[in-house]
Amino acid sequence: MATTTRRSRSARRSPGFDALRIAFMALFLLFVLLPLYWMVITSIKPTSDYLVVPPVWFPAQPTIVHYTAALFSYRGLQALVNSLIIASASTVLSTIFGTMMAYSLARFNTGGQHLAFWVLSQRFLPPVAVILPIFLLFRSWHLYDTHVGLILAYTFMTLPLTVWMMYAYFRQLPKSLEEAALVDGLSRWQSLWMIAVPLAAPGIVAAAVFAFIAVWTEFFFALILTSRYAFTLPTVFRAFLGFQGAQYGEACALATTSLVPSIILGMLVQRHLVRGLTLGAIRG
């Protein structure tokens, strides 16, 4: 939890150094914002503004026609609904399973360090190494191109994240309240549900949000495991590959629609970002 103190060295630094610092930050901000701005602005540009030189940085007549086209002609709406269902369901499952497992690891050292690291190793398994057998498995179990199948795959995919974030969180929570609850006659299940979970609520919310974002933005599993029915938002962008039909506006409208929810959610858990990115290894 070391975020407060900052040193006074900078007073000694030359103004030249400060100018360099500000220039570097400004350039990088520009680098981050330019392609995003171009995308958002293209989503409201009329078609006639696409190929104009010099480029149109703000359209004289903004339009929303690309949004309606992207949602209704490119099945964007169905993808949006699918993504919402699949991301929500797998987030809920992954958070529940992950929190339970993390609690057992943190409080009882279940399976020693091996079990915990076995879960972590799943995070570093390249999806391409397991996707082929999963694909064959899903076809024989009739899970291919179904919501249930993708929900299971994503729950599996996000488990290392939720388990390890909550593992780190539970280890820093004191045991004493749960022990007191056991003495008072609560079962272990009750003390998990009524004592530990409410205490860990901020951590659980953060883990859930990171899991949701991970699923919301995932492409590879969805590409392989779905086709016409359970497809998610990221897979729809295939329709615009190569831009032969010059569907720039539709592509950008769909991208803008997709990134708004995940950016908003991300900002809400910004405080937990370091824990989320390092699976709890660094507290931030």
Partner: protein
Amino acid sequence: MSSTADSLRRSPLSQWAERHFKWLIVAPAVLLILALSIYPLLFSLWVDFVNYDFEIPGHDFVGLLNFTTVATDPIAQSALLLTVAFSVVNVTIEFLLGLGLALAMVKTFRGRGVVMSILIIPLFISPVIVGQSWALFLQRPFGPADYILGLLLGRPVEISWLSDAPWYYVAIVIADVWQWTPFMFVILLAGLAAIPAHLYEAAELDGLSTLKTFFYITIPQLGPIIVLAVTFRLLDAVRLFDVIFMMTGGGPGTATYTLSYYLYQIGFQQFHLSVATAGSWIFLILLSIVIMTLVRRLLKAEKT
């Protein structure tokens, strides 16, 4: 420990559930991982040594044929090389830029919160969208990139970013760096903020120059965090797929095939499932060697 009086009042089922509590609560997660990771891996071990191909019927035992097929495929070899090259270049650039940003941002200033919020945006965006928006930004004649470069250089620039060598490599690196520099930045910033202030005060008393302070205090103190950030990032960098899929589709030809993209092509476009599986096992073994080396480094760094 629950009191005996209480456990006597409970039904046999809840007593059983209480006794096996710690295993029951790990069961759902463990079963799911077994079903979707361990079972597929074991199954794919069998697929490695038989013919499993949508073009050729039957599952005859073929020995090591699948492995030799993939290992001698020149496209696979160049994909491996390109994956290594991309990983090294991307992670190095992301580390240097991320460290620079973290150093620039470690001191508080007005508007720091807003700058922070903007810098981390790429982390919440699907790589597919990152690939698409950079393709749109760079691609001639639609994207403004060549126009902006023309203004800066004072002469017309006509680069086809996604089809001219070596620019398609540059375009992919730009997209990856755009998305993942914030990852390095956020972690390194947390590491910088955790360095005890008294170390800097001591350095100042000793009259160490800014450069010396950086190399004798900042970098050693940051060491374990750097190893951790690079390890995490590297293990994701080697799977590079989405950006390739959206920006170049592996092209022109097979020039931008990475390992993941190659295996996807072999397995899911040409349906040589057993060859792709053998390839993914080779990938997995190579990756385990990298992981073991890095983790050993990581544990060593943590001890010091």
